[in-house]
Every structure is written in C-alpha cells, then in structure tokens.
C-alpha cells in the first residue's frame, strides 16, 4: 500500500502542497505511513479502552450495533465531504435529511403513494435541496456557510410546520424493512453504507468527476484555467450531497420507525467532524474515502462506548468532547508532519 493509495493530490493545482517524497523503506517513510492512518490507530486504541472497561463492547452484537449506528452518520459524512472537497460547507444536510424523509413519508401516508415512490420522492426532494444550495453558492455567489445556515433554519422550520410538532409513525412495514431487517443475525442497513463508501471511493479515484472535485477544491482558479467547469462541478457536488442526504434520511426514518419534528438535527456537527477527523481538508481539495470511514467509525465508537461504560452522566459529554479533541489533534499532527493540509 503506497501512502498515496487513498488520496489524490491535485498536483497541478497544488504544487506547494505535494506530499513529501522520501525513499521507500526509510524510517521517515514508515512514520509517514503510520501517520497517514493515524485516525485508525486512535480508533483501535479506543476500542481497546472501551473493551477493557466493558467486555460487552468487544462482542459481535456490539459490532453490529456500531455498524448500524454508523450508517446514517457515515452517509452524512460522505455528503458533507463532497462539499468540503470543493472548498465549500453545507450546514443544511441534517435538516434536509429530516424534511425529505418527512415529505416522502407523508406522500405515502396521506396521498397513498406506493412506498417506493414515497421513498424516491423524499430522496428527490433532498437532491433538489442540494441542487438549490449549489445554484445559490455558484450562480448567486452566496457564501456557502451563511447560505446553508439560512437553508438549514428554513428546512427545520418547514419540518416543524409540516409535522405540527407531531411525530410521524405507523410507516408501512415495507418502508421500515431496510432499517429492521437482518440476514443471519447481521443487520442489512450497513450494506448501504458499504455501497456508499465503495461508490465514493470509485468516484474520487477512478473518474474525471473525482479529479475535477479535487482540482476545484485545491485551486479553483487553476482548475478553471485547466478547462474544468468549476461552477458546474460545485453544483454537482452539492446535488450529489443532497442525494446522499435523502438516502440517509430514509434510512434514519426506517431504523427509528419514526420521524420526529426535529429529525436529523443532532447529526450536523458530527457529520462535519467525521470527515475532518479523517483527513478531509476544510479548505477543499484533500481527503480520502478511507479516512472519512475512519472518522465516522471513531465518532460512533465514542458514542456507543460512552453509552455502555459506567461514567457518571454529568461527565459523559465532557469526556466525549475530549476524545474528539484528541482525534482532531492527532490529525493535525499528521498534517503538520506531512505538510499535508
């Protein structure tokens, strides 16, 4: 495995940020290799600590539990990563997740649409929200941080208005199936996460779109000169991100078998933190799929671990924050050592 295996550097756009080149098999090279995957080392460390504190943590059912709980966060992490890669940010992803699933579910419940149509409608709504975000950021030159904040508040308010503060339940069994189904004791839902990561990995490393995403985020002006239609790439990133949010929204509703009037809200900051912990640059142009997965699993392990080890509840939030802080610190160490920002 080379140190570049999971990362693409837009070399033409980023000549000053190329990864240090050192001879293979040298100590420095090995140190770089270790640092490259530092998020996984911290993840392994946490698994050992939680396993010592509670042996149940190392059981197969708990692994399944972690995978299920990582699914929605993982998809939202991918959605946010697409936008981060092009040097933007989207604060509306969690709100889009909630409102899109609610609209899809209402179409099934009130309009009597078949389940598949309702699900597709919800995903379509989220995709449209992403597209609108992309248009606002590129064509209207709105600042993504503030544009998506406005969109987030609008969508949160919209969800409250649609649900009138009530929770949507009594969704059809076929709607809930994917969130509940198991095959041989293993939950089905994490397969969607696996598919998502495979698709993302393929897109980023094997397609023109992937290279264009990196180039746009790495140096938009240089990318434009190189013939990349930067605005279009950004719109595609936001739109794809919206699509993934729609899928995540459906999975969350199917797993909970319910849609609350603030569905999805708790995911936003974690969906931003996961990719960044995993090495995605908040300034665009850098990051890899494996790192994002590491970041997602790390946050989920912290979440699950703190729920099952005995920590007085007044300290849980603080300890969780410290563990995340350490994760960010080790990633910053990697960036500093590798000159890999």
């Amino acid at each position: 495995m080379t140190i570049q295996s999971d990362r693409f550097t837009a070399a033409p756009a980023l000549p000053d940020k190329a990864v240090l080149s050192v001879p293979k098999r040298s100590l420095a090279y090995r140190v770089q290799g270790v640092l490259q995957h530092v998020v996984w080392i911290w993840l392994a460390g946490l698994i050992v600590i939680f396993g010592l504190l509670n042996p149940f943590f190392l059981s197969t059912p708990n692994l399944q539990n972690i995978l299920v709980q990582a699914t929605v966060l993982g998809l939202l992490g991918l959605a946010q990563s697409l936008v981060l890669l092009v040097g933007e940010i989207d604060l509306s992803i969690a709100a889009a997740t909630g409102i899109s699933s609610a609209l899809g579910a209402l179409a099934i419940q009130r309009l009597g649409l078949p389940v598949a149509f309702g699900v597709a409608l919800g995903i379509g709504v989220a995709t449209l929200i992403g597209f609108i975000n992309g248009l606002c950021v590129t064509k209207l030159k709105m600042v993504s941080l503030i544009e998506s904040l406005g969109m987030m508040i609008t969508l949160q308010g919209g969800l409250l208005a649609i649900t009138q503060g009530n929770t949507l339940t009594d969704l059809p069994d076929s709607y809930n199936w994917i969130g509940q189904a198991t095959v041989g004791g293993w939950p089905v839902m994490p397969l969607v996460l696996l598919l998502g990561f495979l698709a993302m990995g393929f897109t980023l490393r094997r397609t023109i779109l992937g290279r264009s995403l990196y180039a746009t985020g790495g140096n938009a002006a240089a990318a434009l000169v190189a013939g990349i239609r930067v605005q279009r790439i950004k719109i595609i990133a936001f739109t794809l991100s919206g699509f993934i949010c729609g899928v995540a929204g459906y999975l969350l509703a199917a797993w909970q078998m319910a849609i609350t009037s603030n569905q999805g809200d708790g995911f936003l900051l974690y969906a931003i933190a996961a990719p960044i912990i995993g090495g995605v640059s908040v300034f665009g142009g850098r990051g890899g799929t494996l790192g994002i997965l590491g970041g997602v699993l790390l946050l989920t392990v912290i979440h699950v671990g703190l729920a099952i080890v005995y920590v007085p509840s007044f300290y849980v939030t603080m300890i969780g924050g410290v563990l995340i802080f350490i994760a960010v610190a080790v990633d910053a160490l990697r960036v500093n050592v590798l000159g890999d920002g």
Binding site: L52, P55, S59, P61, N166, L252, H303, S313, T317
Partner: protein, 361 residues
C-alpha cells in the same frame, strides 16, 4: 480485531486494573453476576427537573442494591434510541427512561419486550409497546389548572374574569410543553374578556427575559404571566425586576405569576411572597414508584396491578393505576402549590433541595 469471546472476569479485572481509563470512569463495569443492573435513559441534564428526576431513580435503584447507570441524550431522539440499543447489549435487568419522543421510543421498547426486559417509563408516556409501568403527569390538565388559577386571581382582582395574561410558552417540539400550552389556550378561550398573549420562548431563560420585558413595555398594566417551566422563568423574574414589577402578592402593581413544575426556586418565590402559585409535578415520585413497581411485580414476572394507588409519602397521596395504550399507567394528579401548603415537607422541591442537598449549579 473484534474478540468474539467475552473476556473472562479474571482477565478483565486484571486488565481493568491497569487501564488508566478506569480511573476516569470511577468504577469499571465489573459486577457480580447476581447483581441486578437497572440503567436510566435521561432526556436532558440541562434543567433542574431532569437532574432531580435522575437522582430520584438513582437513589431508588441503589437502595435496592442494584447497579445503576445513567445515559443522557440531550433532547436528541436518535441519540436516545441509539443509547437504548447499546445498553441492551449490557444485559440490563430492566430499564427506566424519560423518553424524548413518545412515539419514536416505541420501537426500542418493543426490542426490550422481545427480550423480556421490563421497561419503566416516567414523565413522558410512550404511545405503544408493552411498558411495565408508566408514571407521569397530565400536562394538558396542568395547563388547564394553571390557567384556572390565574382566572381565579383575576376574578379576585376585578370581580370578573378579565385582564391581560402573558404565556411564555416553550418549544412546541416538546410534547409536554405543547400540551401545557393547549390546556391553557383551551381554558382561556372560555373567557372572552381575558386577553391572552401567547408568545414563543422555546423554554429559554434569555428569551423569557426579552419577551417579558418587551411585553411589559407594550402592556405596562399586564395582569399575569405564566411559564410552563420554573428554571427558565428566572428570565421572567429578571424582567419584572427590571421594570419595577417584582411586587409581593397583595402589593399594588403585583403581576400574577403562576408556573408549572414546582422546583425549589418556585417554592422559594412563593415562600418569599412574590409568586402566587405553581402547578406541581412530582419527579421524585416518578422515580421511586417506578422502581418499586418493577421490583415488586415486573422482576417477579407479574404485571403491575390496576386500581387505586395510595401513598402518604406524597402530598397528593392518592392516584389510580389505569390501563393506557402502553400498559399500566399512574398519572399523578396535578395540584397547586401556594402559600398555604408550600412548607409541606413532601413537596418534591423541598425533598430534593433540603433533604438531598441538590442545589442549583
């Protein structure tokens, strides 16, 4: 990487002794196999009410010699469901919870039911599933009672029910706050001469302060103010003080002030003569009764019996356990705490503040 064979207890203890993180946690989860484990899933620790409620469950669980653990979901429904799923792997003997969402919690209650683990629900009832015992409060009736208490005082003031009333209602995503508002709205609808100012505050102290201050500028002769919870209503008190309206009951310029909850701070305002009354819940009773019922019946495989419930330890003394959509349910009747009964030692705010030493942070 994942060890499918749980460590033996000896190995685990040996490893645990060297784990520095164990020092962090205070206790490891090593426990005797015969010790019952009853966790509590809390919705928040941001309000005195929820802190008191967790303390009540903790004391009741530990008094039985059971192992206690609490998790807090910070008002995030998804987090709460995930915590229930994670705790299930720990093999709890029962679980007690204050659900964030009455409907969404049903799916995990059913998962516990499938494993024959008794579930006790407090404060926020579930709309389904098989719950061993629910102990809660009729929020709608609480809203009605608070409104009627305000109406009574307006009648005393003017001879007939009229005047201007401000309701600093809480976030509508919260079922409890929404029902309190609905109860209050429905009651005031019966009195056309009372002008009700329904203003959103999200249940936040700072918003209650700004809303009350703005309302007092707009309506200097405001007759009454209400908050659906005591902790954030400190903002109302600050606004009244800023506007020179913080007068004792009976003094000229007094603004009628009635809340819902019954926290120590409200009892203090009543004792000091500034607050007219507060409609009380009883989080101490929620925790104690739920643990007792689970110990007495559910742990022995019996359903909690329906019928009258009487307990002189509580100010309300009598209630009735009825069948609800999720199983046996004791809805504690709301009652008004005012100057005449505020010193009763059984008031939950007196218990937590004076007997348990649970002070405001």
């Amino acid at each position: 990487m994942i060890d499918r064979h749980p460590l033996s207890r000896r190995h685990f203890l040996g490893a645990g002794a060297v784990a520095t993180a164990a020092a962090l946690a205070g206790k490891t989860s090593a426990f005797a196999a015969d010790q019952k484990f009853v966790p509590y899933s809390n919705k928040s620790l941001d309000y005195y009410f929820f802190v008191a409620q967790e303390e009540a469950v903790k004391r009741a669980v530990e008094a039985k010699g059971w192992r206690f653990q609490a998790v807090n979901a910070n008002f995030d429904n998804t987090t709460q469901l995930q915590q229930w799923e994670s705790i299930l792997l720990n093999g709890p003997s029962a679980i007690i919870s204050d659900p964030i969402d009455s409907q969404a919690i049903v799916s995990v209650i059913k998962k516990y039911g499938a494993k024959k683990i008794p579930v006790g629900i407090i404060d926020t009832p579930a709309t389904g599933g098989n719950v061993a015992i629910t102990v809660d409060f009729d929020n709608y009736a609480g809203g009605v009672m608070a409104a009627e208490a305000i109406v009574d005082r307006l009648k005393k003031k003017y001879g007939s029910p009229k005047g201007t009333v401000l309701n600093c209602y809480g976030a509508l995503q919260s079922v409890a706050w929404r029902l309190r508002k609905e109860g209050m709205d429905a009651t005031f609808k019966k009195y056309p001469d009372i002008k009700l100012l329904d203003r959103p505050t999200e249940g936040e102290l700072k918003t209650m302060l700004s809303v009350t201050a703005a309302t007092l500028s707009e309506f200097p002769d405001l007759d009454a103010v209400h908050a659906p919870s005591d902790t954030p209503s400190r903002g109302i008190v600050t606004a009244l003080q800023q506007k020179g309206k913080w007068k004792k009951v009976g003094e000229a310029g007094h603004v009628i002030f009635i809340n819902i909850d019954g926290e120590p701070i409200a009892l203090q305002w009543i004792k000091d003569g500034y607050m007219d009354g507060v409609v009380s819940q009883d989080p101490v009773a929620y925790g104690q009764i739920t643990v007792d019922m689970i110990a007495k019946y559910s742990m022995n495989g019996q359903p909690v019996p329906l019928g009258p419930y009487e307990n002189k330890n509580y100010f309300w003394e009598k209630g009735e356990i009825k069948q609800s959509e999720s199983g046996p349910s004791l809805v504690i009747p709301p009652f008004l705490i005012d100057a005449s009964n505020v010193d009763d030692k059984r008031m939950w705010g007196n218990v937590t503040f004076n007997d348990w030493g649970l002070k405001y942070k």
